[in-house]
């Protein structure tokens, strides 16, 4: 059986890729996907530790995360569609009307 550090390492790599995606990319959909990647990195860490410690609560938590993520995707995609309808663009740097 693979040691848990492998899973955690993979989770960290995925999280980092996701975080960099959020910070670097300007396309809203890509950012969204990056956020999903970060969530799933967290999920991976959860299940890895749950399995390693033989505890179910980690597994259960992952279900909640997946559910919330699904809801978040629904809301987020709706927002993106709404933004596209008004701006004809989904570049997040264009959405800077809240600049102080």
């Amino acid at each position: 059986m693979l040691p848990v550090s492998y899973y955690v390492g993979l989770s960290a790599v995925l999280f980092t890729i996701g975080a960099l995606g959020v910070l670097i990319r300007r396309n809203a959909i890509i950012i969204f996907m990056s956020v999903e990647l970060m969530l799933n990195a967290a999920n991976l860490a959860f299940v890895a530790f749950a399995r390693a410690h033989q505890a179910l609560s980690g597994q259960v938590f992952v279900f909640f995360v997946i559910t919330v993520a699904a809801a978040e995707v629904a809301v987020g995609l709706a927002l993106i569609v709404a933004i596209f309808r008004t701006k004809h663009n989904i570049d997040v740097d264009q959405l800077s009307s809240m600049k102080g």
Partner: protein, 703 residues
């Protein structure tokens, strides 16, 4: 006395005493509430009935007193209870108060009836039923107040009545408040009313001081309590009684028009003539005499006060009589005559001749009411004549401006045009002059006889005053009724209607026969009043008829009348001729004519300095010092400095504003810097979140 022996247990009507006040008040309220709808006759009828019923009550009380001569006190209600002061509203019914009640309601009723006719004809009336009603409302109110005055069983109740009659006097003097005596628009009548009120206020102040001193010393203002302990207080504290009696004298001088406060009474003639007769001759002005008689138990303890009162009365009697000689207005002559006769009464009660004073009060009420009312009849007669003449000549306007129907210089020969009034006036004048056997002879003579025994100085004063009295009455009779008319109005004068002359006839009969009340030897009135004085332990000086005095005064009166005939009767005045006395007396007569310039003297000595003082206070103290300087400069200045400089600039602008603005500015500057943080780029925020997470995690790991 036989009567009192028969009637030892006669009927007792004392419980009726409160109705003395209530009946006139009911009459007043009836007229006040529904009088406007009733018309003149009903208004006058209601008022006269009320007054008449009051007289009936007074008669019933007098009848009861025959059975119970010691008198009684009829309690009616508790009035004031404050600490030591316990006062009830109670009616004192004794021979003295009942005498006053009879005079007031009796003469009052006759004058009410007369007034129905008089007020209707008054030129100033102009068919205003509201005015007619108001007049009778005031008259009834006056009767009620006068009844309170004479029936009170304590000094405070007496004071209430005293003020009440003063109020009615004020209201009735200024009855035609928007015009003068000739009906022209003016404030003259209102001024006269004000003068009476103010002069009386000076007197009332004295009276009030007397009552307060009395309460301080005696711890009571009830007649019975005060008189019971008078002897004891007189021994321990004689100064207090002297003070009370002298303060009271000031009140008497105000109400009964004595020197130095008499000046209001001549001006009071501005009121309608029935008022002059009722209030300013027969009843109210005698309240002072009643007060001294009522307070006899105190006065007899302080001879100095008695002497002062007698001297004031004597001087007033003489002084006013001299002024009456020089007057041309028919009512002014009578006004000064009233002052003079009040002087007689005050002198009498002052020297201790209480019965003589009260006797003269009664007869004077008869003949002076008769004289005033007859004078009113004369004035109306002249007015009718004037109207008649003006109507015929057709130049009403230029006459109405200047014609004075009360001026004796416009009259003359009126015994032919107004024969009834002439005879009535003659009876009144002879009674006043003290001609045997009319009422005035007996009462005046009793005063003079008592004066010879009690105070000879006063006797001299009064005897000379009596001489003047006969003279000015003679002068008036000759000027008004004899000779030829000096004005067409007098020539066309018409007699007054019976509603006016019949009450006059009753008064004339009383003036003729009034002396029978207290004939020497019989002395009904003396025995009647004596009882009240005996109750309070006052021994009256036994009156004795002095033939020498009687002859002297009769001769003086006859000489005076003869002199007046020489001057005014033998060669009657012609139109525009100066008074013949002026040639003989010269400047003296000018003095009499001008009332010895007493009004002017008061103006110069009291009123003008007072007004100057008031102006000084108003202008300099109040306006310049208090308003301009203190308020405007000190208070307003300080406040302005405080608000403009100290609070506004220093505290508000430099303190609070600076703090608030500084806070705002700092926040604004800070916000200016901080707003740079809000780039609007969502990725910037995400980076901040990541950095924040890393910092927090780093902290958690490394700690």
């Amino acid at each position: 006395m036989i009567l009192s022996e028969i009637a030892t247990s006669g009927p007792n009507f004392f419980y009726l005493a409160p109705w003395l006040v209530f009946i006139p008040l009911i009459g007043m309220l009836t007229n006040l509430l529904i009088g406007k709808r009733l018309g003149e006759k009903a208004i006058g009828g209601i008022a006269s009935t009320a007054s008449g019923l009051t007289f009936v009550v007074a008669v019933l009380l007098a009848l009861s007193l025959r059975a119970y001569p010691e008198g009684t006190t009829v309690p009616f209600a508790d009035w004031i209870t404050i600490g030591e002061l316990q006062l009830r509203w109670a009616f004192r019914v004794d021979t003295l108060s009942t005498t006053m009640m009879l005079v007031v309601s009796g003469v009052g009723t006759l004058i009410h009836i007369y007034a129905i006719g008089y007020m209707h004809e008054d030129v100033r009336y102009k068919n205003d039923p509201g005015r007619f009603r108001r007049f009778f409302v005031y008259l009834n109110l006056f009767i009620a107040a006068m009844m309170i005055l004479v029936s009170g069983d304590n000094y405070l109740m007496l004071f209430v009545g005293w003020e009440g009659v003063g109020l009615c006097s004020f209201l009735l003097i200024g009855f035609w408040y928007e015009m003068d005596t000739l009906g022209r628009p003016s404030t003259a009548n209102a001024m006269a009313a004000k003068k009476a009120f103010v002069a009386n206020r000076v007197g009332d102040f004295g009276f009030l001081l007397a009552v307060l001193t009395m309460f301080w010393v005696f711890k009571s203002v009830q007649f019975t309590d005060v008189f019971a302990s008078a002897q004891q207080i007189a021994e321990s504290n004689p100064g207090a009684i002297l003070a009370i009696t002298l303060f009271m004298l000031l009140g008497v001088a105000g109400k009964s028009a004595q020197i130095p406060l008499y000046v209001w009474l001549p001006d009071a003639m501005a009121g309608p003539t029935p008022v002059s007769a009722l209030i300013h001759a027969a009843t109210m002005v005698t309240a002072g005499v009643y007060l001294v008689a009522r307070t006899a138990p105190l006065y007899v303890l302080v001879p100095q006060a008695q002497a002062t009162v007698a001297l004031v009365g004597g001087l007033t009697a003489l002084f006013a009589a001299t002024i009456a000689v020089g007057q041309y207005d028919i009512k002014k002559v009578l006004a000064y005559s009233t002052i003079s006769q009040l002087g007689f009464m005050v002198a009498a009660v002052g020297m201790g001749a209480f019965v003589a004073g009260m006797f003269h009060l009664i007869t004077h009420a008869f003949f002076k009411a008769l004289l005033f009312l007859s004078a009113g009849s004369v004035i109306l007669g002249v007015e009718r004549g004037h109207h008649h003449a003006a109507h015929h000549d057709g130049h009403e306007d230029d006459h109405a401006e200047t014609f004075d129907p009360g001026d004796m210089r416009n009259m003359g020969g009126m015994r032919k045009t107004m024969p009834v009034t002439f005879w009535l006036y003659l009876i009144g004048a002879l009674a006043l002059a003290g001609i045997f056997p009319l009422a005035g002879f007996w009462s005046k003579d009793e005063i003079l006889a008592e004066a010879t025994a009690l105070n000879f100085t006063v006797y001299i004063l009064l005897a000379i005053a009596a001489f003047f009295t006969a003279f000015y009455m003679g002068r008036q009779i000759w000027m008004v009724f004899f000779g030829k008319p000096r004005h067409e109005a007098a020539a066309h004068a018409e007699e007054s209607p019976p509603v006016m002359t019949i009450p006059l006839m009753v008064l004339a009969a009383l003036s003729l026969l009034g002396g029978a009340l207290n004939l020497p030897g019989v002395e009904t009135l003396a025995h009647w009043i004596e009882r009240t004085f005996e109750t309070f332990g006052v021994k009256l000086h036994p009156a004795e008829f002095n033939l020498n005095v009687a002859i002297t005064s009769t001769v003086l009166a006859l000489v005076a009348i003869f002199l007046s005939w020489l001057l005014y009767g033998r060669k009657p005045l012609t139109d525009g001729q100066p008074d013949p006395l002026k040639r003989i007396l010269g400047p003296l007569f000018t003095g009499m004519e001008n009332k010895w310039w007493i009004d002017e003297l008061y103006w110069a000595v009291i009123l003008n300095p007072y007004i100057a003082l008031a102006r000084f206070f108003a202008d300099v103290i109040d306006w310049r010092f208090w308003h301009d300087w203190f308020h405007d400069t000190v208070i307003a200045g300080t406040y302005q400095w405080l608000s403009k400089t100290a609070l506004n600039v220093w505290a508000d602008q430099r303190g609070i504003d600076a703090f608030a603005n500084g806070l705002g500015n700092t926040t604004k500057a800070l916000a200016q810097r901080l707003r740079g943080l809000q780039t609007g780029f969502v990725r910037n925020y995400a980076l901040s979140v990541f950095i924040g997470v890393i910092v927090i995690l780093g902290y958690l790991i490394l700690q």
